[in-house]
Structures are given as structure tokens and as C-alpha cells.
Amino acid sequence: MLGNYALLVLAPILGMTSNIFVHILVSRFNQGRSQIKCLIFGFVFGLVCIVVLSLAANYRQVNSLDFVAYLLSGCIAYSALAYVYFHFININIASLRIRILQEVIDCPDGLTQEGILSRYNVKQMLDNRIDRLVDSKQLMLQQNIYYLGSNRTFLILFWFFEALKFIFLGRGNRLLSVTCQQTGSFDLLLGALWLNQFFRFLCIGAINTIFGYCAYALLVILGIDYRISLTVSTTLAVLFNYYTNGRFVFRNSGKKVLMKFVLSNLIMYIFNQSLLIILVSAGLGKLVSQAAIIPVVIIVSFIINKRWVFFKGKL
């Protein structure tokens, strides 16, 4: 049993080892093949290894929830390792800094700025990049004009990274916003939606709910009584909610705002509790009642936060 569990735990490491091994083999003996295809091949091989190892270690309990959890944990860990490996390979091929560094190393006497640019500049970079984009069908070339190709992977990645940049850095792509004189990176539906305060409130609310649950789950697993865990996680969640709503949704903060926020949460809790008691007493089921109350609570909570808690002007 211990041996089987060890195999389950080590499956991501073993899967990654086989991924790297297969990738090196395919890359060395199939020169000319796209590196992305070699990496995908290695990734799939490693993933299959993990599934096979996990099944071999736990074949008697394939249908159990625990086995699914082990497999999921292993796959997530493996995917993260594969992602790191992909970037290590990609940096080697595509990194501008590494390429510039190579040019400086190749000249023992050193290089002036003009010297660096004569050896490696934007024109060469664009030649390499655009060729790769056309080869991978991200772009297509017709009569010296470039159009979007059939492969939309990079475009999807662009929007994914734009969303992350907005969350982490508070800005979008600088190259496009400065040179194209766009008003912002989010000029499509997602951008228009994000400008809507209620949409932001819903998104931040979802994140806050995840945070609250993660805090509760962590405390319970650590061995703290579930009632104390709920109290502590709710306190943390209220503070976190205050910060995220103040920062991202209503753009207002301060001690007074915090006090109003705590009070409004208490009001919403009493409101929710009262409504729930009324509906359950009226004969509606406990689960259905709360499900029905949630949209009401969300809307009332948004109005209270907007018009009172985070309100900046005079009423």
C-alpha cells in the first residue's frame, strides 16, 4: 500500500522525466520539425505515463473520489512542470535578451549600441517572428499583406494575458496602446463589460467567494473546529472583500468606509437570515430558499455598497 501511494505521489515527477526524455529524443532525431510539435508530443507522452502509473498504483479503487483527486492533483502538478519546461525551451529559442547577450559574448572586445543593433535589431526579430507566425498559421500572407490565419491560439493567448495584466499590473499591452493610440486594450466585448461596475462587482464577488471558501477549507484541514474556521474565514473574507471591492469595483477606501462595509455586511447577513426564515416557514425548501435569495442579496448588496458604503459624493 505504501509503495502504491508513493507511486501516486511521484507520478508527476516520473511523467515529467519521461516528457523531457521523449522531447529530447524527438528534437534531436527530427530536426526541422517545429519545436512546439515536439513539446506537445512529449507532454502527451508524459500525461499518458501519469494516467497509466496512477491506474497501476490504484487499480482497485479507480471509481473512488480519492483516486480522482490524486489523479487531478498529479495532472495539475505535471502541467505546471511542463509549463515551466516549455518556457525554458522557448526562452532559448525566442528570448530577445538571450539573443542580444549572445551577440555581446561573441565580441570579446565588447560592442557599442550601434554595434549591437547592426548584429541584431528589430528587422531581424520581425523576420524570425513573422516567419514563425506564418508557418504556424497564426498569420497568412497574401500579396504582401498579412491577415489573421486559421490558427487563433496567439489571439486567445493575447486576451488571456491582457486580462492578467489588468489584474496584476493595472494596464494592458503598452506597444499597442501607445503606438496605435487606442483608448485601452479592452476595446472588445470583454473591455466594454469590465467598464460596467455591476459586471466588476460580480467578477470580484466570485473571486471573494473562492477566497472565503479556500480560507475556510484550509482552516478545517489544519484541524481547527469548523465553527471557529467559519468565524475566522468570514472575518478574513470580509476584510478581503472590502479591499477588492474598494480597489477594483468602487475605487474608494478608508477607515470610515471599512466601518460602513462591516456594518453593511452585518445588515446583509440579518436580511439574508430573515428572508430565509420567512421563505422556509412559508413551505419553500431550505436549499431552494437560499438559492432564490442569493440574486436578491447580490443586487441589494451592490446598491448598498454603491450608494452608501463606497459612495464618494453627497447623497
Binding site: I89, A94, I98, V122, L175
Partner: protein, 171 residues
């Protein structure tokens, strides 16, 4: 199941902590990578210490030592992925920028000249030379850039991968 939920929860807490520190901008760390590693390490250690104190044993997760190892095998790659993604966010990818720039033109398309206007040496190459100077990969002496020991180390580290895979550096 307990280990999976514990691992995901602790990663989520670490990410939220990092976001808060980032937005508060009250940190002594000048290096974003060091900050992320610090926050993640602190969260993981705090999780284990609190669990050990409450349960009076370090092996409070199912599976004992293997349970802790499972959490570590989940946590560390996710942390590294987070570091890589965060660092990638700070630089705008030229390839993704080109694709989006062409996408903006819709049916009209873009000529090579138009693409060259949004990506220039001043925007792409020169700032990277400055970053390498700041990070100590190269130094500037007698009006010339020369590689440092640190720069040579990084180059050799990455060049090893190239040799192993028999691929060429393109940039």
C-alpha cells in the same frame, strides 16, 4: 481529496496575499520574483507550522510524510509557473502584439511597413539592453557593452538546452 483541497487552498491564499502586497506597494522587495517566492514560501511554511501546532504532529495530512511531499510536488511547480507568468506579463510579447495588431485591421490586413512602425528598436531592443545592464548581465565600459560573469553563466545555462536539443537560437 483533503490533500487536493489543501493544496489548492494554500496556493489560492498565496496568490491573494501576493496580489494584496502588490497593490499596496508597501514592500521592500525591488525584485518581483523574490517577492513571489517569499510570499509563497511563507504561506507554505505557515500552513505546515499552524497544522503541526494544532495537531501536535507535523504529519497532520493523510499519508503522513508522503502527504506532505504530495503537497510540495503540487505547490512548487505551481509557484514556479506563477513566477514565470508574472515575469512574462511585464514584457509585452512581440508575437502576440503582431497578431493582435493584424487582428485590429480586420479585412484590410497589415503591410510589413505598418508592423515595423509599432515595433522599433527604441521600443523593443534598447530597453532590454538597459534591463540587462540593471540585472548585471552586461556592463558598460569605455562606451562598449561587455558581458559579466553573471551574463556568461546565464548564457551557458541556456546554451546547454540548445545543444541537447540541437536547435538554433533565433530571437
Amino acid at each position: 481529496m483533503q490533500i487536493l483541497i489543501y493544496s489548492i487552498s494554500i496556493v489560492a491564499i498565496a496568490i491573494f496575499l501576493h496580489l494584496i502586497l502588490l497593490k499596496m506597494q508597501q514592500t521592500a522587495f525591488v525584485n518581483a520574483i523574490v517577492l513571489i517566492i517569499f510570499v509563497f514560501s511563507l504561506t507554505l511554511c505557515a500552513g505546515f507550522i499552524i497544522g503541526a501546532l494544532i495537531n501536535k504532529t507535523i504529519f497532520f495530512l493523510p499519508g503522513g510524510l508522503w502527504g506532505i511531499l504530495q503537497v510540495a510536488i503540487f505547490y512548487i511547480p505551481v509557484m514556479l509557473s506563477y513566477v514565470i507568468t508574472y515575469v512574462a506579463l511585464e514584457d509585452d510579447s512581440p508575437s502576440m502584439t503582431i497578431v493582435r495588431f493584424v487582428d485590429l485591421s480586420k479585412e484590410k490586413g497589415r503591410s510589413r511597413k505598418e508592423i515595423e512602425q509599432i515595433i522599433t528598436n527604441e521600443i523593443l531592443i534598447l530597453p532590454r539592453i538597459n534591463i540587462m545592464l540593471k540585472d548585471g548581465w552586461i556592463n558598460y565600459q569605455n562606451r562598449k557593452y561587455q558581458v559579466t560573469k553573471k551574463g556568461r553563466f546565464y548564457n551557458q545555462f541556456f546554451a546547454f538546452g540548445l545543444k541537447l536539443l540541437r536547435i538554433t537560437r533565433e530571437g
